[in-house]
Symmetry: D3
Subunit: 246 residues, 6 copies
């Protein structure tokens, strides 16, 4: 049995459940998905500030996962918050959903478009595309300007807006696929893909399969240097409990 801990970095419980469902929908029978979110931090992540403040909670969840025997981790926010730190902390592989979605997109075509929530998050998406090697493959980042927590509000029409934006993106950018730029859009993926007749990629599902694959391959983060466990040392004050253990 492979245990994958899927961490929703915000505190929105309903979103965690939806993320868990999306992960389970694609996981292998022998994979157990543990979908969690931190007990602390931002209700949603829509700025660099939110993202930075979500990281301690994410890392607490990784620490809990290590205690719980998790085989790998998904960080289920499109900014991939805390990814490098989580890789230091975890024995098994850690994959972010932006990372996973972009990897998957480049396996099913040359170029992809990202459809995200708020336009202020586009810079982060470009940063990640560059970091992962996909600056050329990423054709454009489009924002629907719907806040994260309104994506699944009944009657919000969010799915329709996102669908139209995906269609526009494919057309305008000449892309082969669309990457959904928020874990809160995971539930839309199948329908939009069916409607557009083109690959539409949800990072939650993609990351789940990539972590599962890495575990099956026996591949873990290389620990020789940059991603060695954090050096034990004292931490002070509110975050003292986060001090890396000896």
């Amino acid at each position: 049995m492979t245990q994958i801990r899927v961490i929703n970095p915000n505190t929105a419980r309903a979103m965690t459940e939806s993320i868990g469902r999306c992960a389970r929908a694609v996981a292998a029978p022998a994979t157990r998905i543990v979908a969690v979110n931190p007990a602390m931090g931002p209700a949603s992540i829509e700025s660099h500030y939110d993202e930075a403040m979500a990281v301690p909670g994410v890392l607490a969840e990784v620490a809990d996962g290590e205690a719980d025997g998790a085989d790998g981790y998904v960080i289920a926010c499109f900014g991939d918050p805390g990814l490098d730190a989580a890789r230091e902390l975890a024995r098994g592989p850690v994959v972010g959903i932006a990372e996973a979605a972009m990897h998957a997109a480049t396996l099913v075509g040359r170029g992809f478009s990202v459809v995200t929530t708020l336009s202020r998050t586009a810079g982060r998406a470009w940063d990640l595309a560059a970091r992962y090697g996909f600056r050329d493959a990423c054709r454009a980042v489009h924002a629907c300007d719907i806040p994260v927590l309104e994506l699944d509000a009944p009657g919000s029409g969010a799915r329709e807006v996102v669908t139209r934006l995906c269609a526009t993106a494919l057309e305008r950018d000449g892309s082969d696929s669309v990457v959904l730029g928020c874990a809160g859009m995971a539930g839309f993926c199948a329908e939009i893909s069916a409607e557009l007749g083109a690959p539409v990629i949800d990072g939650v599902a993609a990351a789940t399969k990539l972590v599962e694959s890495l575990v099956a391959l026996g591949l873990r983060t290389g620990k020789r240097n940059e991603y060695a466990p954090p050096i034990p040392k004292p931490y002070t004050g509110l975050l003292a409990d986060w001090a890396p253990a000896m």
Copy 2:
């Protein structure tokens, strides 16, 4: 049941069997691996010329796979020969082993080294790294200068040579992992990894899991434009049977 056709682009039957074993070793229970090689073409692939001449055979195997209901394909030569053409031809996803190994490497660390057979193939490895977005992540390409078909010759000492080169590469390049640059090295992977205590990546296994993942995710090559099926037209002479069907 997911059927993945793992195509060894050369005609070395023993290598096809070894490749099949490596794929099966990591495949999910519900995956059927069909390991094949063309009935035509080069005995091994060690030049641009060999690679180009292997492509018709690879594409014939893809066409057979389509007839046979294959859900996805692995191209099991580190030059990823015919990858773009195969993506046009196949309904399901197609992944090359260089592509897969490099993707996997960037998920378990920042930088990787490639250890390959002949030094003349390094240019192709760099081309592929650049094409896939991993030019910066790829730190160096090292050649052991053992011909492909001698890798598993009894008493060749190939495994030892490759192991030493992997160790040197990790040290010199400051890499987090090593990518094995030939399908003929697939059988060495687990042992070298265990010996070095660092991720060593075999593209055959990695590609098998990536194709499996894409199939599970319902992701196929985007067909809107560049990767649409080849346009039907007449082909002449020796390769007339390869003409794209109407």
Copy 3:
């Protein structure tokens, strides 16, 4: 007397003749142009698949050229099919027409636009621009969506369509020149250039002059490593005759 073998990679004899005329129109008096096309393969090249399947025929023509004492080669299809393999095979220089046209364009201005046939071929043009170092110089790739073999159909109006697209490209992209993205457009070059008052570049002519220049300079492909002659080895089946000679 310098002999340049200009290889049209498709089997369209009329196109070969037109290509030969364009090469002869710019060749030096002491240059003999031998314009050929394979006896096998696709009638036209409009996909990665067509391109891959044209390569064995191209390489057969290179082998014939070697037997015939050719001093250099032009590969006269804008995808530059088989270029690396041909460089291994040939003693003299080999230049592709996309390569030649892009080189020439960067000598007469900072940025160029490509005007090509089908939009599905744009990805290949971008790949080549990146491979040759001209990713920044290449401003855009525009498709007229006229199939290759209809370019010279009487009454097709192809020349007018291509001319208008060149004008639009110069305007929109702020380019200094236009590169014609198909050997089938070679015959349009002079007229479009005259009409637009801007450099319009046909790769067939450009490659002919570049090969002539390299021969005059005594420059051949470096053979120390990557482009050494293919290693002799057995090939099986339909392509057995292509086996690299001992």
Copy 4:
């Protein structure tokens, strides 16, 4: 009077004082340097994990600075932790010391070498160089492998080790200058520079002058989009007080 808040992201009070001295040594007479460190978080920053866990403290210091009327901020750790988030939070400019040192280095020469503490931090330095546009200008990152808090230990010989490494770096990399890769090395800067007869750059001093300059120029972070203030929303648990104010 310009008030610049120089934030040492770790909790080492002695280091904060040394950083404050280095900033004051170069500040204009009309500049008031307020050197602070968080009341919480890691004692030193030597991993992605430490860095991530230092960010809440850094952002608390920025919030305090806003209340206190700070005109600009220096983030005085070579990983530039929390820089993007701080830019959202602050009205005035925010500059990281890696950022500042690299900018300064490219103004006094073509290429620079970084001399840092632990080799595991080199990846972060490369990330930042790439993010700031200096991937080509950054020639190499060298680690002295002395922990941050031992840099100023009496009798540690750290200054000599760092000096020798700077000399080696200049020689080996053909660089025009050396960037010191840790705020804890700030005190070494003048002496090493004098000894080597080449520009040696301390990011604390450089960032202080850059912030001062931006303030004098009336330049603040652009707030139209990505760097707009964080959207007010509830935060939960331990970090509830960090919730962006309405």
Copy 5:
């Protein structure tokens, strides 16, 4: 007292005075601005040719500055003419205004737009952005197509045209700031910035502060190699007096 020599590379005296005023407006009390222009060369710089022909005059001004004890230099034309040569000649730091403006822009946001005079100068702006590492940060270069010397012609309406173009640029490019692409626009900066509510950057002011900062930091151009003083040797003819002194 720090002496900064601000060199207007063209011979337009009125422009030199305006440039001097802009530099003095931001300089520290202890800084003396010496604004000069060559006695020779082009009346304005609007082509590569003008720029090249302005360089001897610029370098004569640097030589005079050296004799006069200048501590640093600003080259106040957006093509940064003669920058590398001036760095060889001067003991103190030399900064170009395109360089300074682009550096400042990347400190107050992710992306910037350039608004320049004639569209024919855009290529040079892109060259400089690439050279300084800001090719990705530079989103677009927009030309108002007003000649340099008409920028301050009474009744020209230039300020309004430039303001509108800045507004359009911010909107269209999603930039965080605008860089003014001509020293002749320096006087517009404060008003445009106030009107648009976004950072608008004048390179003259920015370069003045950067040179002041480098001087305060004790940083001069590295002289170990590329920027060592020019090798003494004879020069002939009209420019004989420019021969590097022994």
Copy 6:
């Protein structure tokens, strides 16, 4: 008859003659080579300063060439001084020898090494490689540290030193060819190439053939925008005669 003006940017008459010989040795029978050097400027070019000060003389030679009916130009110094300005001035094509040599090198292999005179000029070589698109193809720049004017001093042993450095470069860089980084090395080219059995490229010869080719192709610098003739305007003082004609 095609007239190509080969401009040696320094004032060393003997070097001009040697350059003329090298150009004539490869020129077509119908090409007339006019080898000239300015009557003014530096005796040799070994710094950014020398290079900048050589440009007025180069441009005077281009102006004379225009009056004399030159069909194209070679700028025969490896820094390609004044290239952009010359392209504005000339009706026909202008090619620099660094540009030509690098273009030729990428046509005969994947990677090349540059062997140049003084190490201080390496930065310029890298700048040009980047500008022309060959940053990846250029593997390394090696300096022999022999001054330009001593290259052909009898008994200097320069040829032997350069030959050894070429051999080392090929070996160490894994390059396919070597580019000679100074017009003063043109005379060594054939012998070194013969001795090493690898392509060794002299930019003077390469540029001559490229200009000849562009003329034969009817290709001139695009004049729509950046490279339009310099705008007529007054120039003052010593360089008043250089003012662009109305």
